[in-house]
Symmetry: C2
Subunit: 413 residues, 2 copies
């Protein structure tokens, strides 16, 4: 929990530094909104669904996008677009648990709603860099790969001349490119009418990366948000990669994925993209936007692979130990003072031998013990013990708080 | 979200100051564990249950206790008892939504596991006082009422002499005492064999509060954790109230409820109690403990009634506004510097007229605008505008961060 919370806090802090407001939503939604929007695989095979006592068909959210689309649509009249929103929620999918996949995961969702402007792309890319920085990840550890479906469509239509009827299947093929041997891809392509010559042309064109841009019609180059971003100072934040497609739902132009560069774990960490119209299911108003969803399971694996997981923090700074039962109220009084100074303090609940209590305090991760002894207490003093260095000395009760505050704030404490 | 998050953070901070470690658990659990432990009403009428694609009967957790019991039992071998744990989780119950009740609510669970010592009671009571303090609630706004089932059992057995067979029904009757007219209670009591004389004796004994204690057998007075707490300095933290029973599950002795004292909202805010053996379903090891669960819906009503809800915070401190499209990269550079200094900064995504952008920045809650103008930028300067006072002045780029850091840290900023 401590490791997880520290990682999560880095995410929140970074996103909030960009002025994103946090939202939340119900874990139960109408099953329909996933059946309508989330794609066949999720709706047919991965949904945890139930019928409630009122006869409604509900599902545990497998993702946050339909919920936020509904919320944005429902508040469109009062929102000042473009809006920056983020959430961090648990999602459920009935998948086969494996490395990087669990049935419940926590997802950070970051979106800008209500703008087509390529400045949104740049902000999201910058933010991703800052998120990765905040986690201690350097640029040699990961890579932001960005594609553009508008560019890809133009490649298919204007360069490779794939028949319109085969566009969808070709996109799905490109999406599988890195996971399937080329010969298998070639066979599959032939099945929906892409012959060997077209297949080779497709592959060489995609492999040429940004070099394909000059061959595309001027209109595509000028309207593509990504093509405009590539002319800005932000071009150094990512590599253009036409193989990035991101399934088939929502996204209409920019699509991106953050890849782990470690050979041990070479795969997509998270991704997102631009949607031309998010909330069509809930409103007639066109609401474009761009965003990403980052899951905690793959992120944890990434941080683990690169040795970036933070150390777990202890739960307590100081333990107050009475040497006898009748000094328990005195130890509570000491603890009260320390807590008022925001020092995390526990007390002994079941007084035993001092040695045992000290060993116990040490194991608990406390840095200091305050021992309440009979003679010391009579002169309004206690014994302060450094549980690491083992040094101890008597100190007046009135000095304990200031003394411990200073020691705990010292570097390395 | 901002209000909710501020309230929640007060809770976490207070509980952590006592050295409680946070845990989390799955929202889906086997339906059985609630059927076994949570009482008839929850299991039969309030559970959101489903059968997953693997044929398992699951339920959305209606409460956290069975989950934490399983976790404690599963780790009993490695835990250093007594342990202090807390969680904050959403729970689902299919109830009729009404004031103070929604189908989803967030519940703070705070428990000490593995100790029978009355010091646990005292710590939990102190912690409740600190939690209420942290929310700004003074003692005239709320009351901690504490009962003891061991004392109540003795009252029924030794004072009123209720037949053993009618104990359960009498307890249930007492639990309903404040919600039902006395005449109705008297009738119900008669039905399970409590005649008018016994009923009157029961009522007058319970109403006498702590005065009943000397009439109880010495053994009860000595073994009751609460009777021992009443002899300590902690007696001022609560009132002893034999009418507090808390349903019938889990609790074996101390039971308590925090009541709102406002006449407009006079009811239980949250409560808890001591269990003699928490994890009997999962282990043969006896694990006693004490704890409470605090829901966010009733808490919100309480804070609202007493004018204690915090003000929502804005999401941004500074907005950077370029006066023209080609100054957008410059405005991003300024924003980058501010964010590095942990200042929450947004930039204009779709540059429009300056007046409109300033109005927009003001509405967003930002305190300052940094205007990036053409001439100023050429001499490496920007215009800083106080969105509240409307004053503005030119400032060198190298001074912006220090200047805004200082202004935002000033009181009232």
């Amino acid at each position: 929990m401590s490791v997880r919370q520290q990682v999560f806090n880095h995410l929140y802090e970074t996103v909030e530094r960009y002025g994103y407001g946090r939202y939340d939503g119900p874990i139960l939604e109408s099953a329909e909104i996933y059946e309508a929007k989330s794609g066949q695989e999720i709706a047919d095979q991965q949904l945890y669904s139930l019928t409630d006592r009122g006869g409604r068909r509900l599902a545990l959210r497998p993702e946050m996008t339909p919920s936020v689309a509904r919320m944005i649509a429902g508040n469109a009249g009062s929102l000042q677009f473009p809006v920056r929103w983020y959430s961090h929620v648990n999602c459920h999918r009935y998948e086969r648990p494996q490395r990087g996949r669990t049935r419940e995961h926590w997802q950070l969702n970051v979106d800008i709603f209500g703008s087509d402007n390529p400045n949104c792309e740049i902000e999201i890319f910058e933010l991703i860099h800052d998120v990765m920085n905040s986690l201690g990840a350097t640029r040699d550890m990961w890579l932001l790969r960005v594609g553009d479906r508008a560019i890809l469509n133009s490649v298919l239509r204007d360069v490779v001349k794939v028949p319109e009827s085969a566009h969808q299947q070709t996109m799905a093929l490109i999406d599988r490119w890195e996971k399937v041997p080329t010969e298998k891809l070639r066979e599959d392509a032939a099945e929906f009418g892409l012959d060997g010559r077209m297949f080779d042309l497709l592959e060489s064109t995609l492999r040429s990366g940004a070099e394909v841009l000059p061959d595309l019609p001027q209109e595509v180059r000028e309207t593509s948000a990504l093509a405009r971003v590539m002319k800005s100072e932000a071009k150094d934040l990512f590599v253009f990669d036409p193989f990035i497609v991101r399934g088939l739902q929502y996204y209409t132009s920019t699509v991106f994925e953050v890849f782990d560069r470690s050979p041990a774990n070479n795969r997509s960490l998270f991704g997102g993209g631009r949607y031309g119209d998010l909330a069509g299911l809930f409103t007639t108003q066109r609401i474009p936007g761009i965003g990403f969803g980052m899951g905690d399971v793959t992120l944890h694996d990434f941080l683990d692979t690169h040795g970036l997981l933070p150390e777990a923090k202890t739960e307590v700074d100081v333990t107050v130990i009475p040497v006898d039962d009748d000094l328990v109220p005195a130890s509570r009084e000491v603890a009260r003072r320390l807590r008022q100074a925001r020092i995390r303090t526990s007390t002994t609940l079941e007084p035993r031998k001092l040695g045992k209590e000290l060993a116990r305090a040490d194991r608990s991760g406390a840095r200091y013990a305050v021992i309440v002894g009979r003679d010391e207490w009579q002169r309004q003093a206690v014994v302060l013990r450094d549980l690491e260095g083992k040094a101890q000395h008597e100190i007046e009760l009135t000095d304990v708080v200031a003394h411990l505050t200073e020691r705990l704030a010292a570097p390395g404490a």
